[in-house]
């Protein structure tokens, strides 16, 4: 999926090519605020041209192969225990050392996927996680009022990140 228009704004070239930006979300829209990332990522893809929207991901491992070659990959997700509901937090995964889930039966965490991607030479140049603190992770669709109210701020934060990266490119 590609959002917005096809042509990125001027001043965003890496060498002679445009800055490659991908955006994805993690989470489950059927667990209330866990679906916040999907809403934010889709809104950003609508607003900002030249962003490759990978869509909602359930398994971070599916990012492998889809974010390859990106200069900037932004992953939007809900957080828990990171502040008051609706708080937006940006984490630059510069040095991920988390285990990829040695005992997992079914998948690998985002940090683990990034580590694996680096080992096999398929990591984006930069990965940033934008987290929105959730309040309700109960069963069913729909966001809590606090998270709903924070969506615009989260979208602005992601757009800022992209614009800053393009200015610096």
């Amino acid at each position: 999926m590609t959002g917005g228009g096809a042509n990125p704004p001027s001043g965003s070239l890496v060498g002679s090519r445009p800055l490659r930006v991908v955006i994805a979300s993690l989470g489950n829209e059927y667990r209330r605020d866990d679906g916040a990332g999907q809403v934010v990522a889709a809104a950003v893809a609508e607003q900002v041209s030249g962003v490759n929207h990978l869509g909602p991901q359930v398994d971070p491992l599916d990012l492998l192969g889809r974010w390859d070659g990106a200069d900037l990959a932004i992953v939007v997700d809900a957080t828990r225990g990171q502040g008051s509901p609706g708080a937006v937090r940006v984490v630059d995964l510069i040095d991920s050392t988390e285990s990829p889930g040695a005992t997992s039966t079914h998948g690998i965490s985002l940090s683990g996927v990034l580590r694996l991607a680096r080992v096999v030479g398929r990591a984006p140049a930069r990965v940033v996680v934008v987290g929105i603190e959730g309040q309700d992770f109960g069963k069913g669709p729909g966001l809590s009022p606090a998270v709903n109210a924070a969506l615009a701020a989260a979208v602005c934060k992601v757009v800022e990140l992209i614009e800053e990266a393009r200015k610096c490119a």
């Binding site: 989470g27 489950n28 829209e29 059927y30 667990r31 866990d34 869509g55 909602p56 991901q57 359930v58 398994d59 971070p60 491992l61 599916d62 492998l64 192969g65 809900a78 828990r80 285990s99 990829p100 889930g101 040695a102 005992t103 997992s104 039966t105 079914h106 998948g107 690998i108 965490s109 683990g112 580590r115 694996l116 080992v119 096999v120 398929r122 992770f137 069963k139 069913g140």
Partner: protein, 433 residues
């Protein structure tokens, strides 16, 4: 892990990000394994409630959200159940396209499990990253295989995760012959990679363990079953999906949120690769059969640790089958059969990568779902996994604490259980006293 006088307790505490949780506990008293408990949260339970009151056409899309690893399995079983209720039989072109989509899911799911989750167990690696540091080529091969599976799902299903092109009766849109033909090249490569996978895993060291399983899997008369068939068992059952649904009794166990399934309310059983292979190895096409023989598999495999070899053989099968379907592809026209609801009960069963998955729905004349029952493979396998754990632990008591814990975790991973769909990690703690 805790030690008292003659006592050991292996405790694996589960943590899930949001979706659910699972944990593992094995108690040993005076050299004898006592209580074994694999506790699992199962998301299908609330999906069953969510489906009631919805339209029958919504079941494939809603149930696909139960699992990010095997959404096609949920879609296919839902479609099969609704079509059975409405007495609709889809044509061969639609069946072939469904089978191709399902092959994509088998390829991506098996590649994930074999390379990134299970192989590190056999090679003494803590995780897939350590494996990649030691053998980048192997991990690259696994990732490439997984990517090919995803590609098949994208072309046929509309996207790799939670495909959007599936509907009751068939598909919203048939992919073009050109798009499907483009899958041939990556599938050729994937088939070679799958053959290399069989050779690779066949060289692993396997504990000498065999279990007396009661296997249950779908069987078709003329091919290795994936998307349809009758449920047969190693002790003589031969059941339609509706008969299977009637025979399987699930019981709630107080210590766990998971239901435990038994045939006739009595007999525990195993579904999944070992069951499929052991009941249907004669139905494998030549290439996969030769790969199995070359890997030292007989017609039946009862060593749970060798399930990784069986998965690799099924990778060969899925790639080979997908190639055949691509080469013979004719777009179904129309892409879906017309399905008119009627008041009825319908059951559908298909083979998810990790085992038999069946759905039963009651709908009314307007197509509104009145009751829903979804029985995933892990629910069916849970009692057998616990039996495996008991046997493996008992036969491994001479191992040190860390090795014993590792072996127990490996015994769980042998069956690739869906601890909770989208629950991506299981933290382990060792308690000592």
């Amino acid at each position: 892990m805790s030690h008292g006088s003659g006592e050991r307790t292996i405790s694996v505490e589960g943590l899930a990000r949001v979706e659910g949780e699972g944990s593992l506990r094995v108690e040993v008293h005076d050299g004898v394994v006592g209580e074994v408990a694999l506790e699992i949260f199962e998301p299908p339970r609330y999906f069953e409630a969510m489906l009631v009151g919805r339209n029958f056409t919504e079941a494939p899309d809603i149930t696909s959200r139960i699992c990010g690893i095997c959404p096609v399995a949920y879609q296919m079983s839902a479609c099969a159940a609704m079509e059975a209720a409405c007495e609709v039989v889809v044509d061969e072109r639609i069946r072939a396209l469904r089978r191709l989509l399902y092959c994509g899911e088998w390829i991506q799911s098996h590649a994930l499990h074999v390379y990134l989750l299970h192989a590190p167990d056999f090679l003494g690696c803590a995780d897939a990253v350590e494996l990649a540091e030691r053998d980048q080529g192997a991990v690259e091969r696994g990732l490439d295989l997984k990517r090919t599976g995803n590609l098949v799902m994208e072309i046929v299903g509309g996207r790799a995760v939670h495909p959007v092109n599936v509907r009751v009766g068939g598909f919203y849109r048939a992919p073009s012959p050109e798009a499907v033909s483009a899958l041939a090249e990556p599938l050729f490569r994937a088939r070679d990679q799958a053959l290399a996978t069989v050779e690779w895993v066949a060289g692993f060291d396997f504990p000498d363990v065999e279990a007396d399983y009661r296997f249950v899997a779908l069987r078709e008369q003329d091919r290795y079953a994936i998307d349809s068939g009758r449920a047969v068992s190693s002790d003589g059952h031969d059941l339609s999906p509706a008969e299977l649904s009637a025979l399987v009794v699930e019981e709630h166990v107080e210590r766990s949120t998971a239901l435990h399934a038994r045939l006739g309310g009595v007999d525990q059983y195993l579904t999944g690769p070992l069951a499929r292979y052991s009941l249907n190895s004669a139905m494998l096409p030549p290439l996969a059969a030769e790969a199995a023989a070359g890997a030292g598999l007989g017609p039946v495999c009862k060593n749970p640790f060798r399930s990784i070899v069986v998965r690799a053989v099924e990778l060969v099968f899925a790639c080979d089958e997908a190639l055949s379907l691509v080469e013979n592809y004719e777009p179904p026209n129309p892409p879906a059969a017309t399905v008119v609801p009627r008041a009825a009960i319908g059951s559908g069963a298909t083979e998810a990568p990790r085992g038999l998955l069946f759905h039963t729905y009651e709908i009314d004349d307007a197509g509104t779902i009145r009751t829903a029952r979804i029985v995933p493979p892990t629910s069916q396998n849970q009692l057998t996994i616990e039996s495996d754990l008991r046997q493996v632990a008992q036969e491994s008591l001479d191992l040190g604490d860390d090795e014993l814990q590792w072996r127990c975790e490996q015994a769980v991973r042998n069956h690739d259980p869906c601890i909770s769909c989208a629950a991506h990690f299981l933290d382990v703690t060792v308690e000592s006293s």
